[in-house]
């Protein structure tokens, strides 16, 4: 039977046709589509429900009682939430600013200086925090802070956030810089700009989308962080994620849904903007 198939003059084309059909069909295997669909449902239904129930007028986070913004009003007037939000904002703003400046400098050094020994290693070290498990970083940071006796209250959190924000700020800036033609800087210097002016008028404006994109990414990563913040924060430096966690343990109310939804919208907006600005020509 097999012999016959091989010997048949048309077997080759038939075989290759069926092979290619199989190849293209692999994505349409029965069950694949359904699995993917279930995956998306599983991922997004809880978030969807969370957002819906933030608009619940009743007291429950599980029983729909009609549309209302009363929980939003309540959440925005809650002193603890306000304090946590302000803490989160202060930490994120300062950490983002410092991290973005450092990331910009690092990317300039790595991309624009003459090749130096350890250039690749420097790059790897910079990206390291992305692969070190967060709990490890958290524990390490905590023990380091107590080892050197650092006790700056919210300052501790800011320092920790700055450190893990750097690689996130670094990635879009570096991508931007790599796509940039270095002859532009040479042209600027040829046209009588000194190094600072070449940076100020040529490199920096062209790098700006990357810097903004990196800063937004760093900001949202900082706003969102839980594990490291939990470890290093002291009384008085509670951030929004820590506050939510504390509340959840006492039972879920639509107020938590509100805070979570607001954070979700902010994340979506920031990440989309970061992507759009980073992509800009």
């Amino acid at each position: 039977m097999t012999n016959q198939t091989i010997a048949a003059p048309s077997s080759k084309s038939v075989n290759s046709r069926s092979a290619s059909r199989k190849f293209f069909k692999i994505g349409r295997f029965p069950g694949f589509g359904l699995t993917t669909l279930l995956f998306f449902l599983f991922l997004y239904i809880p978030i969807f429900i969370l957002v819906i129930f933030s608009f619940n007028s009743g007291r429950s986070a599980t029983i729909w009682d009609g549309f209302g913004l009363n929980w939003y009003a309540k959440a925005f007037n809650n002193d603890d939430i306000q304090r946590a939000a302000i803490n989160s904002a202060i930490i994120a703003l300062i950490a983002t600013t410092i991290a973005t400046i450092l990331a910009t400098l690092a990317s300039l050094v790595l991309a624009r200086s003459r090749k130096f020994k350890g250039q690749n290693i420097s790059y790897s070290i910079l990206m390291m925090p992305l692969i070190v498990p967060e709990i490890v970083t958290a524990v390490a940071t905590l023990s380091f802070f107590s080892f050197v006796g650092l006790n700056l209250g919210i300052g501790n959190v800011i320092i920790a956030h700055t450190v893990f924000c750097i690689p996130f700020a670094f990635m879009p800036i570096r991508a931007r810089l790599q796509g940039m033609d270095s002859t532009l800087e040479q042209a600027a210097m040829d046209l009588y700009a000194n190094e600072w002016k070449a940076f100020r008028y040529v490199t920096f404006p062209l790098l700006m989308p990357g810097i903004i994109s990196g800063a937004m990414l760093a900001f949202i990563i900082s706003i969102d962080d839980f594990i490291i913040t939990l470890m290093v924060s002291q009384a008085g430096s509670t951030t929004l994620p820590l506050y939510i966690y504390g509340m959840v343990r006492m039972g879920i109310t639509p107020e938590i849904n509100v805070v979570s939804s607001v954070m979700l919208f902010m994340s979506i907006i920031f990440v989309s903007l970061s992507y759009l600005i980073g992509r800009k020509k």
């Binding site: 033609d181 040479q186 042209a187 046209l191 020509k281």
Partner: protein
């Protein structure tokens, strides 16, 4: 006697010194470029043209040697301190600035006031016929238009020397031909010394006052276009520029500057060039195909010799004949097709070969 604008003295440039990838990009190069001259560096890819230009602009440091600008040593001066501007191969216009801002950039960096800057911008945009595009961004311009802006920008601060690194190579053929004349006119109008880099011999021959032919980091020959074309010194120059016949011969008699070379028993050719040859030395002769005239065998004249047409190639404006001489050497001869519908010789015809006076060069080894 015109002043010397740029003097390159014994410049050697090595890359990757002390590594296994050491490259000598320039090897003891000396050139002197006169004030108000259109000077061209011509050579194949990788011969070190860009490196030399970057050294003059200040982007690289030489391993050895000096570069002088009107007698003043440039070594150690960064690019922004040299009154020399560059037109980059891919123009390097600042994409976030308008055309006018691009042209104004060097003026601002030099600390010129707004009035002077504005005047220079208008003047230079007019010079390159781009005044209507002042408010566009470079991304909204065609390649040829970007080229003009790059020129305007480099000329705005009125540099002493303008460096151009293959500025026409990114343009299509038609535009390239137009820009050749325009560049040449621009150089005459502004009176600025141009140093132009190209690997295109036609570009070099049509635009330059003088040419330096380079190969593997060395200057092979310097001279005006006719010298370079008609009196090549060596095999590289003869071969790189235009078409040429290279013939192996032996010196049979030396009379002052005239050297008589024996191509075969009955053919003796008078050549000039490389002196210091003695009777019996082997030499290479170069003759341009258009310097070889053919006539029917019946019209044999004094000093001519005979050959047989091996091949004829019709090229529209002219015809190239490949002729074998004594069954040994092959010669190409180009003849203009001035008469309509007539090809003078067919394959296999015996012809009489006349080489123009002083057309035979004896090449250095």
């Amino acid at each position: 006697m015109p002043e010397t604008a740029i003097e390159v003295r014994n410049i050697t440039k090595k890359f990757g010194v002390h590594t296994e990838h050491e490259v000598t990009a320039l090897d003891d190069v000396s050139i002197s470029i006169k004030d108000n001259e259109f000077f061209t560096l011509l050579g194949p890819s990788g011969c070190g043209k860009t490196t030399l230009l970057r050294l003059i602009a200040g982007f690289e440091y030489s391993t050895r040697g000096q570069i002088l600008l009107y007698g003043e040593n440039l070594i150690g001066l960064p690019p922004q301190k040299r009154p020399i501007n560059t037109v980059f191969q891919h123009y390097a216009l600042f994409p976030h600035m308008t055309v006018a801002e691009n042209v104004a950039f060097p003026m601002k960096m030099l600390g010129k006031d707004d009035g002077e800057t504005k005047k220079a911008v208008n003047e230079k945009l007019e010079l390159v016929k781009m005044q209507d595009f002042a408010n566009r961004k470079p991304g909204q311009l065609s390649g040829g238009q970007q080229q003009r802006i790059a020129l305007a920008r480099a000329l705005a601060p009125h540099p002493k020397v303008l460096l151009l690194d293959e500025p026409l190579s990114a343009l299509d053929l038609k535009l390239r031909q137009e820009m050749r004349t325009e560049l040449k006119n621009l150089q005459r109008e502004t009176g600025i010394t141009f140093i132009f880099v190209t690997h295109d011999q036609v570009e070099a021959l049509t635009m330059s006052d003088r040419i330096a032919v380079m190969s593997v980091g060395k200057i092979q020959q310097r001279g005006c276009p006719t010298e370079i074309y008609e009196k090549p010194n060596n095999r590289f120059v003869a071969d790189f520029i235009g078409e040429t016949n290279l013939l192996e011969a032996t010196v049979s008699k030396v009379e002052g500057n005239d050297i008589f070379c024996k191509l075969s028993d009955n053919i003796i050719l008078k050549g000039e060039g490389e002196t210091g040859k003695n009777v019996g030395d082997p030499v290479t002769l170069a003759v341009r195909p258009e310097k070889i005239a053919l006539s029917p065998i019946s019209e044999q004249t004094e000093g001519s010799f005979t050959g047989k047409i091996n091949n004829s190639i019709y090229l529209g404006t002219d015809t190239t004949y490949i002729i074998s001489v004594n069954g040994k050497s092959e010669l190409a001869s180009v003849e203009q097709n001035s008469a309509v519908g007539k090809v003078r010789f067919k394959i296999g015809d015996e012809v009489c070969i006349n080489v123009a006076d002083n057309a035979i060069r004896i090449l250095e080894d």
